[in-house]
Symmetry: C2
Subunit: 714 residues, 2 copies
């Protein structure tokens, strides 16, 4: 790809400049959508391509992403223009076709590169991404995480890695059981006589439910079930169970499977339900890296259960990254449309209506979302880095090592941080998608403009891999514990570093001399520190009070759950701002001015949205808060100047965006009309003509009563 | 319906009571979902049936609604159990079948009764409701509002009322033009020679777009177009244009129509696009109640354009009512599920997991939404009453009457109020649907549980009949004007009555002696009054400042748009609270205690969500705000006690709810499983077997490189 997208674009802009009329003439004539877009690109004060490189982590990675985008766009199995009109069955068929294409790359590409390929795919086809993730992330991930090395080799030799001979799914949730994994009902009872486990679904609520890939495609399954040996229960463990014959695809004896059917989104994955009726599997199909059951029925439990956390973190980090990516896609569509859509006129002397984006209220709707997309992008990058460092540490540390305690602390911190961020970022992104959709006006309700489907596909992120409310509460519980540790003098890690300065923070007000000093990363960071410290203290104190009243710790946590939820949310705001601010400080010099504005907007807008806390804890005075509000408007106007170049830096091709309203060149109406006509050709036979004709040509007299006879007596 | 739903239900509860074991025994055994639900019904301290009557406006109307529910449930064209699996074409066919059923009632039933029938239908099939509304509300409504009486009679004689011989649609919006009706591009040019208008679509952006019913079903259309007579433009007027032959359904010459295709929701209506190419219609097809064009080409414009506002108000009021109804449906589903779903245990000694609804955080998620549903219900009732009073006044007042000025004032007020409330209630309800959906956990992502579809169907309410942001700004503009009038001493009407006390309100703080005095309708009402007065003042002062800086009024309004938006939102909160509080005061004595709690919860929760304003304007101190927060939790716990009886009072049958998780008897798992199996039967042929087999049985060697030959030299 030696002719980069940028150079194509630059030449496009230059062509425009060459034919552009002089300024006075320019003002007086009607601009086409393409011209309306082109003029936005002239406003850039920074090098768009340099920002793309910075976002991608370097030119090398940008090139790789562009290679992926081109490969996908030209691959017929990944055609996307008709995706909004295919049926559930058709889209599932396509998932299998894509599977066939993508398995080639699994073994051919190094993991980080292949991960980037999948991230690119997740942006255009979340259903396929899920089906693929179910096999490689969940099924194969469970083997890697929970199988002994002999077991792992066995399943790889059967085709679990190369996907030849078997394809997997992952059965944790049940009809009546979701977040509480310990409460699952499916049983795995050891039968000493035959050296087998009997996998069984005892009740309707124990039916495995939502199992991605189970309805039609999986041959094998990692099943979570209650281990029972000699009548004693040992909690939930995982077992490999064959579901179907790998040649005929007939169900194995005792296995009953059905299709979950229509979903809100991601219909490309065939979610199913499974009931096991006394299904027998070899003892060695239990994954025994942690808990082991011997031939004689002896159960050996693992020394450190926490080490199994690692697998959970990976999925959550992936969703933080996906939040940033999808948020960027949503603002690309909404942002480009706003640059060409014109409506009313704010000046009676204008010959043309005003661009949406030139209205203050539209800037206020979109610019904070653009800022948030950047914030989530950088948070994703940083969280991914933390996760990888943690995995390196875990792999290089053995249970007996002196540094193990420290590693466990990092694990706990990363676990809590990723839980809180997964919830925070997916919630905010879901809202952002809907807000962007609404900025498209009526056109946001068309499937072809993309954001309705994006909403429906994304919404599941708020629930799976940990329900957001429960994850936020977990994060709040971690904060309460850190607070209590900090009170007892134990120094706290970077993520909750503010808890090391409780004495000064709790009563601190904003010490600026003039309002404009608030426009400073340090002040905003301090503001979040003060407010977070206070909100965490509130949760911690509530917890303490409950303990003193004689509650057990679980009841005390429950009692302060509302305070924990608030603490975790506020903590995440501050955390994300710090990540963004750090990324701005680390940015190349030429990018810092524009990124500084975007980051200040994110910081101040977030403060405005949570103004109650900043006034409650008296960090800001009402007058300072008025200033914050006014500056949000000023920064919106400011960021608006370069917002199209900022969006361009996300570097998504039109194919990736898959929305005519987000077209790079701004030619939105023609592209939109073309797509609608392509998918719904004119001149087709009328689909329900007889129904209409019978309605319009019916005998009205049918509805009328018989007229009474006036002359009974004649 | 002499055997009322209630009596069936009461006997159900009584049966349960008779077989219920004694209290101690009860505690120690596992409860089924049905038992978990039944025990909730025993907690009612009020008469559920009496509350239903109060909500419906009397026993008589409850009976009518129950009659409608039974008729719909038994009508095969209104079968709903398979609605989540039908294709776009199938659901449109059903729309036409339903049309055939419902036209019988249009002429047979008085308007208020028929309106109740349609409200009932809107809850189960919003797509059909829309298609019906397009003909009767928009097309026929336009004839009634804009045709002369001779024209009106003409179109009625052609079948516009009885729907025999013609069916209508309404073409206002264009591909490039939505909210700005004055900016529409379609032209209607008078041709004196032939005494005809020439209807023409001059550009691609002038293509009529989103036109409900145009794709396949409408024969006639009311078209909004720019009136041009002798080269002069007179603005947007409306014209009846025939689209199709009423026998063959072939398009008329010059008419080009296509299908808009797949939408986010409401696929039951066939939205289309229309292009007119020099289509000629008789001059008398222009609707001339207001503007008239004579045979000689003389244009006579109407004396009072405001009178055309009336039609807009009706649609907005209908959406406020729909918000309340859909909000009630959403909390019914989420609320009933929360009474039977169990997860984790908050007490280690429990033999059974804890009901979702017994977690403080779940109460905090649901109870405020239940309170809001009541608030919107009563607001809908009241807004409808205001609208009807206004229509009565308009009909009984002639242009010359002395009272006309007062009527115009009421019209303006109702227009602004309904605009603000439409936006406020539809936004809040859309969020409530999603919040309810998320409380269902993973099951909220299944189509069969209903809320995903409810979200997709409802979302369009935020855009059509006035984009919510634009309506909110209009409402804010009205408030700015009222504020300026109030400053100049003019007394303001009831809806903005607080502006008559600016002197005292603007600096007022909460004067309670002890915190618990805050739990009072009067204090909460005053709190909203103070905050709204301040926020409106902010917008008004910003406007004034801009004027003084020399801006024209339009630019000054634009400058304060963010402040206007905030003012309108805060105003609506206070307005809705007042409506709710008034309804509680008017309620039968036996209902007042429980409704008082629900209303206090709505008031305090809304204050908590907007705490920044109450602290900013120093109505509440931080310590009082802490109390408000704590009382929200207390009230959530309190309302939770009777929340199932409160939900029961909404009196939606299981058929209306159409979600197994919202089943009245609580038997959610069996019903959900049955529905999934019914729609996705087991044992079907495998839909894409060859694709999977070719994936799993492929030659892995295809992917491997040719091995290099080691012995070149041999």
């Amino acid at each position: 790809m030696s002719e980069s997208i940028l150079s194509q674009r630059l030449s496009h802009v230059q062509n425009h400049l060459q034919v552009a009329p002089c300024a006075a003439e320019e003002e007086s004539r009607i601009k086409t959508p393409i011209e309306s877009m082109a003029e936005e690109r002239q406003k850039a004060t920074f090098n768009v391509r340099e920002l793309t490189y910075y976002l991608d982590g370097g030119e090398k990675f940008t090139k790789v992403r562009e290679k992926f985008m081109m490969e996908l766009e030209r691959d017929p199995t990944f055609r996307m223009y008709d995706m909004y009109d295919v049926t559930k069955d058709q889209i599932r068929e396509r998932t299998m076709e894509k599977f066939r294409t993508i398995v080639h790359y699994v073994s051919a590409e190094p993991v980080p590169i292949f991960t980037m390929r999948m991230q690119t795919i997740s942006l255009i086809d979340p259903g396929f991404w899920t089906r693929f993730g179910v096999h490689y992330g969940l099924f194969f991930g469970a083997l890697r995480g929970s199988a002994t090395s002999a077991q792992f080799s066995h399943w790889v030799s059967k085709g679990a890695l190369a996907l030849n001979g078997m394809v997997g799914c992952f059965a944790m949730t049940e009809l009546g059981h979701g977040s509480n994994v310990a409460g699952l009902e499916t049983t795995a009872t050891f039968d000493e006589t035959s050296d087998q486990f009997i996998i069984h679904t005892p009740t309707i609520t124990a039916t495995k439910w939502w199992i991605g890939g189970a309805a039609h495609t999986a041959t094998h399954c990692v099943v979570f079930a209650q281990l029972i040996v000699r009548g004693k229960r040992y909690g939930t463990k995982s077992f490999v169970v064959q579901l179907r014959d790998t040649h005929t695809y007939m169900l194995m004896p005792g296995v009953n499977i059905g299709d979950i059917g229509k979903k809100m989104g991601r219909d490309g994955i065939d979610n199913g339900w499974i009931q096991f009726t006394n299904v027998r599997i070899p003892r060695t199909n239990m994954l025994m890296k942690h808990t082991k059951v011997s031939r004689a029925g002896e159960v050996k439990e693992p020394p450190m259960a926490q080490l199994t956390y690692g697998a959970l973190i990976q999925g959550r980090v992936a969703m933080v990254v996906d939040s940033g990516n999808i948020a960027k896609k949503a603002v690309t569509i909404a942002g480009r449309y706003a640059a060409v859509r014109r409506q009313f006129s704010s000046n009676p002397h204008d010959v043309q209506e005003t661009k949406l984006i030139d209205y203050a209220i539209h800037q206020y709707r979109l610019m904070p979302l653009l800022a948030q997309a950047f914030a989530f992008h950088f948070t994703g990058v940083e969280t991914n880095k933390l996760y990888e460092e943690l995995m390196d540490k875990l792999e290089s540390t053995q249970p007996g090592d002196a540094s193990m305690g420290e590693v466990i602390d990092t694990l706990k911190e990363t676990h809590a941080t990723s839980a809180g961020l997964k919830a925070f970022c997916t919630w905010a992104t879901l809202n952002a998608i809907e807000a962007c959709r609404q900025t498209l006006g009526g056109h946001g309700y068309s499937s072809y403009t993309g954001l309705a489907t994006t909403y429906n596909d994304f919404a599941v992120h708020c629930t799976w891999e940990g329900d957001n409310t429960i994850l936020t509460l977990q994060s709040g519980r971690y904060l309460v514990n850190c607070y209590r540790e900090a009170l007892s003098g134990k120094s706290q890690p970077e993520g909750v570093e503010y808890l090391n300065h409780l004495d000064t923070l709790l009563t601190q007000g904003c010490a600026v001399k003039t309002h404009d000093e608030i426009l400073d990363f340090g002040v905003i960071q301090e503001a979040w520190g003060v407010v977070t410290a206070n909100v965490v203290k509130k949760a911690g104190d509530d917890f303490e009070t409950s303990l003193k009243q004689g509650m057990n710790p679980e009841a005390a946590y429950e009692e302060c759950s509302q305070a924990r939820l608030a603490a975790a949310k506020i903590h995440s705001f501050g955390y994300v701002f710090r990540r963004f601010a750090q990324a701005v400080r680390n940015a190349p010099e030429g990018l810092r001015p524009v990124l500084t504005k975007v980051c200040l907007l994110y910081g101040l807008y977030s403060i405005e949205q949570n103004s109650g806390f900043f006034l409650q804890y008296r960090y800001f005075t009402p007058s300072q808060m008025d200033y914050v509000r006014s500056q949000v408007n000023v920064l919106c106007r400011d960021v608006r100047q370069e917002y199209i170049p900022l969006i361009d830096s996300f570097n998504y091709s039109d194919y990736m965006i898959n929305s005519p309203l987000g077209a790079y060149d701004g030619n939105v109406y023609e592209k939109y009309f073309e797509q609608v006509k392509k998918q719904n050709p004119v001149g087709q036979p009328h689909p329900y003509l007889p129904l209409i004709q019978s309605l319009l040509r019916r005998d009205i007299e049918d509805d009328e009563p018989l007229e009474e006879d006036d002359d009974d007596d004649e």
